[in-house]
Subunit: 341 residues, 2 copies
């Protein structure tokens, strides 16, 4: 559909010369969440990093059905490395498209652009604003929608949405994970990078991303930013309005007190205030919107501490409170609360 990026799968995951797994999050995320769409991995000679997939050249990957090579690493600065060019050209020659979430566009590299044109291959830059998106209509759509929202960026909205979608599926619920960021789009194989959308079309993009569906179908939508974030709140509100969620799951990192990267000028809101403001906006487009529970990132805690914090927060707020990374009965209760009508 117009405006939605669709990625040719399965993938060959390219990690180039990046040996530090900390810079290979995209590749690791794809391996963990959609191994069925990854035929193999490929690195430059001498790179010791391995993902645990079959090591394949582009030609071998193509023979095994791969449709595209995904650049699965993001060096500091997010720029395409000149050292990778020969490898990327080899992939194009082997019949693979190239998928990139780098800041610098593949299409702006003349040698890649020329080779892709000559070979009839696609260069897919996930950060490029997708064309053809409409202004939002505000019209209610059928089907159920869940949106993960947060007190801040980078605390688990994508992971929570993926975990909930997987849990819904395990219960036999018809569900689609709807991706709104670069890594999410690679995992889902499709989606819209909300932060790259021209702002007039923000809510319209969210409408296109979770279209009219069967009444018992769920879209689980990856949230972006935060209504409380001094730079990204606009993206969050456009996504919230266009998604028309029936259910919100509020994500927070235990112990985080300030907006990450903004010094101490921006304290995070209380969970109660965050629930209130999100519901106020969500009910503008869907009067039945409710917060089903809290997804609490407890990565900094020992298991018994985490369990105590989750129990205390659930008690305090009167809502299920779970860490999807830890799972367990509290996560089951969160899933129950999301699905209970």
């Amino acid at each position: 559909m117009s405006g939605i990026i669709e990625l040719p799968r399965p993938f060959l995951l390219f990690i180039g010369d990046v040996a530090d797994p900390g810079y290979a999050k995209t590749a690791l995320g794809l391996r963990d969440w959609t191994p069925e769409h990854c035929v193999g991995e490929w690195a430059l000679p001498g790179n010791p990093l391995r993902l645990g997939l079959p090591v394949l050249t582009p030609s071998e990957a193509r023979e095994q059905g791969a449709k595209s090579l995904v650049i699965g690493v993001a060096p500091i600065g997010g720029a395409l490395q000149p050292l990778w060019l020969d490898a990327l050209l080899e992939a194009l020659e082997a019949g693979l498209d190239i998928v990139s979430g780098m800041h610098s566009a593949l299409a702006d590299v003349p040698v890649l652009s020329a080779a892709a044109t000559r070979l009839g291959r696609r260069l897919i830059d996930i950060r490029r604003p997708p064309p053809g998106l409409p202004v939002a209509t505000g019209q209610r759509r059928r089907g159920k929608r869940l949106l993960t929202v947060g007190t801040d960026c980078a605390l688990g909205k994508k992971y929570t949405a993926l975990s909930l979608a997987r849990a819904f599926q395990a219960r036999g619920v018809a569900v689609d994970f709807r991706a709104t960021g670069q890594t999410g789009i690679m995992i889902a194989g499709r989606g819209i990078p909300m932060d790259a959308v021209v702002s007039d079309f923000l809510a319209g993009a969210a409408e296109v991303l979770s279209p009219d569906a069967a009444p018992d179908h769920w879209d689980v939508i990856e949230g972006q930013g935060s209504l409380f974030h001094p730079a990204y709140a606009g993206v969050s509100l456009g996504l919230l309005h266009g998604s028309q969620p029936d259910v919100l799951v509020l994500c927070h990192e235990h112990g985080r007190e300030h907006v990450i990267g903004y010094g101490d000028g921006y304290p995070l809101p209380s969970l109660e205030d965050a629930i209130g403001l999100h519901l106020q906006h969500a009910r503008r487009v869907n009067p039945d919107a409710r917060v089903a529970g809290i997804s609490l990132n407890t990565a900094g805690l020992a298991p018994e501490e985490a369990a105590a914090v989750l129990a205390a927060e659930a008690e305090r707020l009167g809502l299920p409170c779970a860490d999807p990374v830890r799972g367990g009965p509290s996560f089951d209760r969160l899933v129950d609360a999301c699905l209970s009508a």
Copy 2:
């Protein structure tokens, strides 16, 4: 500065073959608000519409100092008319740049693009997303800022901001009108079209638009959309956060009950609810933010009815309430309230 569109002035206003003043709002707005930057007007032969400025050909306008021709009309659909091409080429040949707020880009018309390149002239498309905008820093800036906000689109946010900036100036206050939409940018000669900004940079664009200033300097910023609008709330919130307003003026049209163009599914909020939600967001970035008063569009009322409505609303809300188009003592009270610290 990077990201801000700057227009070469003064202008020659071009109205083409458009004889209906209803489609010449840009030209009329420029004539009314910045006659000192309009050396003349120019129409195609046979068009009876006159703006009241000197009628000049592009060459004559150039001799009188004109730097650019502004397309001052917007036919239905917002597309560039093939009938205008010879006139636009004549303007380029005469040494004028061309400024357009049309949906279709000047630069996408090969004959114009080629002529501009050959002649060293600029084609300035105000709807194009400006490059080079930063992510918002959220850091407080010096100087005072006023933002007009609204219960809906198209009810007077631009007019209110222009009127307040003019009134501030008349009182000897150092003030800049900061334009965020196509017509506002033409009137101000510079600005950023917020609806064309990539959403990651929304609040950052607003920060760039009203930079650090002297403590007693005011930026009066043209609002966009509405926090209650199902399509444009994201733009409104990004602009609100990035503007860090000290003062908000809430704009509303008397009698309007629903979001314009969205049927009856989206009732407008009460003024009290609108004040509350705007302050909640504004105080996230500026704890001192306050609503100084209401700008009420009473175009549908007779003068005595309007006066009664303005007085009743001011009494009910305990805030100055004025119609800038009508001016008068109630508008003076609104200006007082904006400037009182």
